[in-house]
């Protein structure tokens, strides 16, 4: 005989189950919506033009031509005079970036597990080059670091890049860490692995060629392989260490244009400079010290996406991240000045050299000898989240708005110390001190970025509105409080409610008030339940005493319909 189940127990059981089922359904539905990404096929008659990749091209285009012609372009001048910086156009109504062929929300949306962080873009059973004989198909010809293309014993193709002679692990470690970080953030990156091999494994492939040190192309022989490997550091057991990146399948179209779009690509409706995902690269790059983030280090690849022919956009070549510059340790000025930084040069010139550049201050303070060879030149002294610079000026980066930066900082702040350690460990540093140091430095830099950019807007997130009995409750989370940049009670909020005109612009102020914390409650008469209201919320820290730029909410039919940050 079955024992009667107490009533409350039965309710609990069913409630648990119902709740569980409900949550499952809701979450599945939610995820399904969130992951929805409509991809259109490229027109059948469209053959995408390949873009050439060369650093010299980028230097000329970005650092000389663009800089000198910018003020001659009336379109740019008018744009800036009339509207200032335009808000990003690839964001949705909630000021987030929906998934696209440029970006997929990952760690910012749902925390990746340690395993997922470690795996990065690796899918299924793919992995680094298999052991056994590797055929060297050609030498690496572009860029500053040495390398070679190989085909492993399973036929998979990789590009191997090597560390500088005096700093084993510095570039290969940085590439592994940085690429996985960028992947976790949401960008498309190729698979990168730290790999070890012995000289015996390498065989020149028939017909393989390489650029010899002379700059002349020669058939690749064993001597040629030795030439490429000369000066590459070896492990104690005589093996070589390299960063191996799996070659991307699909039709490679070359570099990305960081300014304009491909007009014929239906999945590319927004000028790239107006894409938050491009603008905010500057913030992500500042975190991992990815100085070499130039158009040359991007790739457009025609792939089959959901059975449709579409262009996916990749960021590649992370060898000059953290303390590495690829073929050497990062020079002091990296991250502080563009290659040709006219503003900094002018400041030095006009002050007779007495203007002390931040990197000069830093260089004067730190010891000349780098304590951890595998880390290279990386610390947070004189680091400034907004003043950090890439090797070349990029127009899209100059268009970065506080809202774009807030979005990026919010994602960066999602990486816990443990997440960072997990990522750093993928660098396979033999010196455990290097792992500790990098984890600490990246965590510190993460906080510097968060603290800075959360102070440029009212850093309110997880905003929602709910109506009940004629009242409206607006709740939010203050990210500065969440991450401990300011303590609860040190902040006050003010809000103002407007109705809107026929164009949807704010018109009359209906109510305003102050609040010490979330939620903000609006009573009847202070808002329009059946219409549309604009609500502006601003935060003020007691330390600074200034109101931060507002977050603007659109409440329509008693529901949150939009979020806008200045």
């Amino acid at each position: 005989m079955r024992e009667p189940v107490p009533f409350f127990k039965a309710v609990l059981q069913r409630a648990n189950l119902l709740l569980a089922v409900g949550v499952v359904l809701a979450s599945v539905a939610g995820i399904a919506i969130a992951q929805e990404m409509s991809v259109e096929s490229l027109p059948d008659d469209y053959t995408p033009k390949e873009r050439k990749q060369a650093l010299a091209l980028d230097v000329y285009r970005q650092n000389i031509h663009q800089e000198f012609t910018h003020f001659l372009r009336k379109s740019e001048t008018i744009r800036h005079i009339k509207r200032g910086k335009l808000p990003a156009l690839d964001v949705n109504d909630f000021d987030e970036v929906p998934d696209s062929l440029f970006f997929t929300n990952r760690h910012g949306k749902k925390k990746l597990s340690g395993q997922e962080l470690k795996a990065g873009p690796v899918q299924g059973s793919s992995g680094g080059p298999r052991t056994g004989e590797w055929k060297v198909t050609k030498g690496k010809s572009g860029g500053l670091s040495r390398g070679m293309f190989i085909e492993d014993s399973g036929g998979a193709k990789f590009l191997l890049k090597f560390d500088p002679e005096d700093n084993p692990e510095v570039a290969s470690g940085a590439e592994s860490v940085a690429s996985r970080t960028f992947h976790a953030v949401g960008y498309n990156v190729p698979e990168y692995y730290v790999t070890y091999f012995s000289r015996d494994q390498l065989r020149p492939a028939p017909g393989a060629k390489y650029y010899a040190k002379s700059g002349f192309k020669k058939p690749l022989t064993d001597e040629g392989i030795d030439e490429i490997l000369s000066g590459v550091p070896q492990t104690r057991d005589g093996r070589y260490r390299a960063s191996a990146s799996r070659l991307l399948p699909g039709e490679v179209l070359g570099r990305e244009e960081y300014d304009r779009r491909r007009k014929q690509d239906p999945n590319d409706p927004v000028w790239h400079r107006d894409r938050r995902t491009f603008r905010a690269l500057r913030v992500f790059a500042s975190w991992i010290n990815y100085y070499d983030l130039v158009p040359q280090n991007s790739l457009e690849v025609v792939e089959s996406v959901d059975g449709k022919r579409a262009i996916r956009h990749y960021i590649i070549d992370f060898g000059s991240s953290l303390g590495s510059a690829g073929n050497l340790v990062k020079p002091d000025m990296y991250g502080f000045e563009h290659m040709l930084d006219y503003g900094e040069v002018f400041k030095s010139f006009i002050t007779l050299g007495f203007y002390r550049k931040p990197w000069e201050k830093r260089a004067d303070e730190i010891p000349q000898e780098i304590p951890l060879a595998s880390v290279g030149n990386f610390d947070n002294k004189e680091f400034h989240p907004e003043k950090w610079k890439t090797q070349l000026p990029v127009y899209a980066f100059k268009e970065l708005t506080p809202a774009d930066a807030f979005w990026a900082a919010k994602i960066i702040m999602e990486f816990s110390d443990e997440d960072i350690r997990t990522l750093v460990e993928t660098g396979e540093y033999t010196d455990k001190q290097a792992v500790d140091y990098l984890t600490l430095t990246l965590a510190e830099r993460r906080d510097m970025i968060g603290r800075y950019w959360f102070d440029k807007v009212s850093p309110l997130d997880e905003i929602d509105a709910a109506a009940q009995g004629g009242n409206l409750s607006i709740r939010f989370v203050d990210l500065s409080e969440t991450y401990g940049f300011t303590s609860a009670g040190d902040t006050s909020y003010r809000y103002e409610v407007f109705d809107v005109d026929s164009d949807g612009d704010k018109e009359n102020s209906l109510a305003s008030g102050m609040a010490e914390q979330s939620p903000i409650s609006l009573t009847q008469g202070q808002w329009t339940p059946s219409g549309t209201n604009i609500v502006e919320i601003q935060a003020k820290r007691s330390a600074s005493g200034e109101w931060l730029p507002p977050v603007t909410l659109e409440i329509s039919q008693a529901q949150l319909a939009g979020i806008h940050r200045d």
Partner: protein, 463 residues
Amino acid sequence: MVIRYRKLIQGRVALKQFLSVVLFVFLLSFLSQDHVLATTSYDPYAPVSREERDERLSLTKRREFIRPVADIFALPFDIVKLALDPVTYEVESRHIPRKLTWIYDELKEKGIKPFIQNKGKGAAVGLDIEAVKLARLEERLPGVAWHNKVKWISVRDQFLLSSAPKIDRIFDTPLSLCAGFQYELLGEEDFWGIGPDSGLGQGSNYEQEKTQFTLGADFDINFVAKATFDFGYEHVNIAEGHDSNETHGGGKNNIKAAFPTLEGINGSDEINFVWGLEYDRRNNNKRPTKGHREKITFGYHHGVRGSDARYFEYLTDLSIFVPVFSERRVLAVRFYGEHNNELDSDEVPFFNKARLGGHQTDPEEGLPLRSFERNRFFDDSVAVLNIEYRYNIWHYRDYKLDAVVFFDEGQVFDKFSEIQWGDFQESYGGGFRVYVLDRNIFTAEIAHGNEGTEFYARTGTVF
């Protein structure tokens, strides 16, 4: 059995409860990671977009059509870019700089060093052939070098041919020996007369052909100090310049007509003995940022084959480099003094007198006074002070750009007693210097003084 069954039933109920709680907790934990989805009633990542944004997108598309018109002023530069793009790409993708560097290194390794320079007389191209390397005798003749140089300068067909064998540190001693032959067609030079008061209106020009044979010995006292001794023979011919108006319809006077009694106007033959001491404590001889260098020289020159030249030469060249709170800012000061003391009624040929004016990097070609024309002043003696404030304004890998502000003060004079405060001439100005691996590859300077303004685009610095 019944009890067991009951227990089993109870166990199943408990298991159900347990599983439902586990499922709930699991889902909660799962969703708590996806914190935004869990905490908002909407999907913040949904691809929803309001009309306003769509309007902006269509505006963007419209702008793409009007942009070429709006950017019309940048069009010439865009055309240049279009032309340069493929060139830039080809240069990099075909590794042209690497090829050129390799070719240069290979040639140098074999003893053939091509060079391009502009040190003030015009753009020069040349070859420096090191015969020992070329003959692959380096191992059999350690320390021996034999440089053979040929240089052609575009302006007025200036030409130089030289050969200089040298044995470094003979038998591992501090002693080095050298010999040399040099033939030089110096091209056209301007001449305004002797003394500090020579006027620009007295301008003439001439050409000089010089042949020299030298034997020398260097003794390294230590790493920073060196003693030198040179014995040489010099033959100089003087001819009128191409720009002389008498024979060529040029704008300047024929020097022989304008200055018929000038010492050495018909050339000269002389032998000379020169002793020198050098003490060099600069941290870098190409781009010093601290330290000092002192050089003193004493020489005796004796005319032969009918030449009336007979004089002593005293020379001092002092420079000091002081970092101003940092080695990125350097105050560089150089004093150069030269006195040629003719014996009895003999003479110092005008072309061997002290010369002042221009932007010379080698004191043997004259001393810098940058707002004046090259070798504007001639006399038996010279005193010149060059003060430069050099500061680094750009540094990228091996490349550096320095800015410089300078002041030159100097005068020529016959005897020390004739030095007059009013005869000093000043120059001041500034410029930029580009360095690769601390070697100067380009200098652009502008200088102003009471005879006008001069602009220089050169390789090398004045000291």
